[in-house]
């Protein structure tokens, strides 16, 4: 990371894509070089100094959603104070972005790349698919995407939809796509251990998926995890993930993640 890792960028646009889910877009800063799986810490500029009503105190981690059309995109779900605040901001509001941070996805050469997204875990996969498509034009890119309900399912507009060769949806209540969870979807057509597997989503889903992939004998799956973060660059020691093989008991997600091998995590 270069010394201009702290930037203040004006918000270009907020666009809703599902109930409580929206794109947050910025102009792509010159010289910014980031990989799928990287994340940024977003915060209100000049904490304690200037003037933003309702602004959170700490920054919040957001994965790179996409880099396209000269813009930097984040796909965000409004869950609490900060994610509701971001959504409320008028275009032009300056935000502090620290990053790119963390260890991104590796892009292995494989015939099939399979991404498993639970809820807002969808966020990192647009850019991942875009980069894979670019590097491995012949590879098949699949997205298995689950939400609790139909209205939480993000609309995928033309160019975004076209990043994937297959999009398979499911909902817990069966109101859209297959009924059940993304892990349930694996039964049958997606039991392919030779694919490159990527996953992001809520903890219980990832836990179940990790067990499932392990039983399928999948090697080198890449999961993007979440944990509360104050800094994002290794100083605060907040973002611990329990290790399967202690000691040490934990590792820092912001430095050794957010992309990790699920077999190294004590779920």
């Amino acid at each position: 990371m270069s010394q201009d890792a702290v930037r203040t960028l004006p918000l270009v646009e907020v666009e809703d894509v599902a109930a409580g889910t929206y794109w947050l877009r910025f102009a792509l800063p010159a010289g910014l070089d980031c990989e799928p799986g990287h994340f940024f810490m977003l915060s209100a500029p000049s904490a304690g100094g200037a003037a933003t009503m309702g602004a959170p105190f700490l920054g919040r981690p957001l994965s790179i959603g996409d880099v396209a059309g000269g813009r930097l995109h984040f796909l965000v779900r409004a869950l609490g104070r900060a994610t509701a605040w971001f959504r409320s901001l008028p275009s032009g509001t300056p935000l502090r972005l620290v990053g790119p941070l963390g260890r991104p996805f590796a892009l292995p050469e494989r015939p099939v790349h399979r991404m498993v997204a639970g809820g807002i875990g969808l966020a990192p996969f647009f850019y991942l698919a875009r980069r894979l498509r670019h590097r491995q034009p012949a590879a098949r890119i699949e997205l298995l995407y689950g939400e609790r309900t139909a209205d939480a399912h993000a609309r995928l507009a033309g160019p975004e939809r076209d990043l994937f060769d297959l999009v398979e949806r499911c909902t817990d209540d069966g109101s859209l796509g297959q009924p059940g969870t993304v892990v349930g979807m694996l039964d049958g057509p997606f039991e392919d251990a030779g694919a490159a597997w990527y996953a992001c989503g809520p903890q219980p889903m990832l836990r179940a998926l990790a067990a499932r992939l392990e039983s399928m004998g999948v090697e080198g799956a890449q999961f993007s995890l979440e944990e509360r973060m104050a800094c994002g660059f290794g100083v605060c020691q907040a973002c611990i993930v329990p290790r399967r093989d202690p000691p040490p008991a934990y590792r820092l997600l912001c430095m050794e993640g957010p992309v990790v091998d699920p077999r190294e995590v004590a779920w």
């Binding site: 702290v6 915060s43 904490a47 304690g48 502090r96 509360r228 660059f233 100083v235 611990i240």
Partner: protein, 321 residues
């Protein structure tokens, strides 16, 4: 520029009065990517114990109004790994920035042990001073915080003093009825100065889950929310012990806040939580102080303690309400 910012905190000559606080700056190598370490007057390492510590279970942080809670639990790499893996590299980078090694233990005895190790490894580590963090529970004696218990406090400080000749700053807890007696005790036990304040006790409840947010229940409150508390105690300690050098800490996220501490009597300041939100916080505090001094044609040395020099302000009892 060097002239107006250069200052001292006790025996430590500082290129400028801005340091990075313990637990918010790693071991000195975490901000490399943002700006050169030599920018700072100095920095304090994460608290080091003799043995490595994993720290507490997650969640370890929570956001509050203008602040945050943490229950990291003094996770650290342990003294040996620090000496071997961190110190050499940081020493190569730090230029004139002072390195303070922050130490602690789970009992007064452990404070003595780690201090003896610091003394033994003094050359290899190359640190300029020790900061003694007494804000941790005495695990052997039922968890009372050492820094809130006069007897254990004195014992721990005395043991560090006996073990090393390095300049010693004692970092005081605000979770006491009066910080002044603790500062006095530190001075009596031979401390070169005090660092104040550490975090305040605090808790947040997750009202959905109906339980405390932090894995440990309570934690330490830091950030702009606590600025007035730190300024109060710096002022009180300075008034009572005008000769005792002070690092002012707590809620500094702007140069104006740093100025408040300096005027209240801090010889230098330490920036903590603010660096999480804005990795440039230390640099911006410093730049602001520099501009202000230039504009007023003054220097840090002239500002320190200025709020004690106005007219005939009586030392009134603290009336609130």
């Amino acid at each position: 520029m060097v002239d107006r910012l250069a200052t001292k905190c006790g025996p430590l000559e500082l290129a400028n009065p801005v340091l990075a606080a313990s637990g918010t700056f790693g071991y000195g190598d975490s901000f490399e990517r943002f700006w050169p370490l030599e920018t700072l007057g100095g920095f304090v390492t994460k608290t080091l114990f003799l043995a490595p510590r994993d720290g507490n279970p997650a969640p370890r942080i929570a956001e509050t109004s203008a602040g945050m809670l943490n229950s990291i639990g003094l996770a650290n790499v342990g003294w040996e790994a620090f000496v071997r893996e961190k110190a050499p590299r940081v020493n190569a980078l730090r230029g004139s920035a002072r390195m303070l090694v922050n130490i602690a233990g789970n009992s007064p005895e452990e404070f003595g042990e780690i201090a003896a190790r610091v003394e033994a490894d003094r050359e290899a580590v190359g640190c300029d001073a020790i900061e003694v963090n007494v804000s941790c529970p005495n695990v052997k004696e039922g968890g009372t915080n050492i820094g809130c218990h006069p007897g254990q406090f004195r014992d721990a400080v005395a043991r560090v003093r006996a073990a090393t000749t390095l300049p010693m700053f004692v970092k005081l807890s605000p979770n006491v009825a009066d910080v002044v007696p603790f500062a006095r005790a530190a001075a009596e036990e031979g401390a070169e100065g005090v660092s104040l304040i550490n975090t305040l006790y605090g808790m947040q409840i997750d009202t959905e889950l109906r339980r405390p947010v932090l894995g440990t229940g309570s934690g330490g409150l830091s950030g702009p929310a606590i600025l007035p508390v730190g300024v109060h105690w710096v002022y009180k300690v300075r008034a009572a012990l005008p000769e005792l050098p002070i690092f002012g800490i707590g809620g500094i996220s702007t140069w104006q806040a740093a100025l408040q501490y300096l005027m209240a009597g801090a010889d230098a300041v330490q920036v903590g939580t603010a660096s999480f939100v804005d990795p440039n916080a230390c640099r911006e505090v410093l730049a602001g102080l520099d501009r202000w001094c230039a504009m007023r044609n003054t220097s840090i040395g002239e500002i320190v303690g200025a709020a004690h020099r106005v007219g005939e302000r009586a030392e009134e009892p603290v009336w609130t309400g």
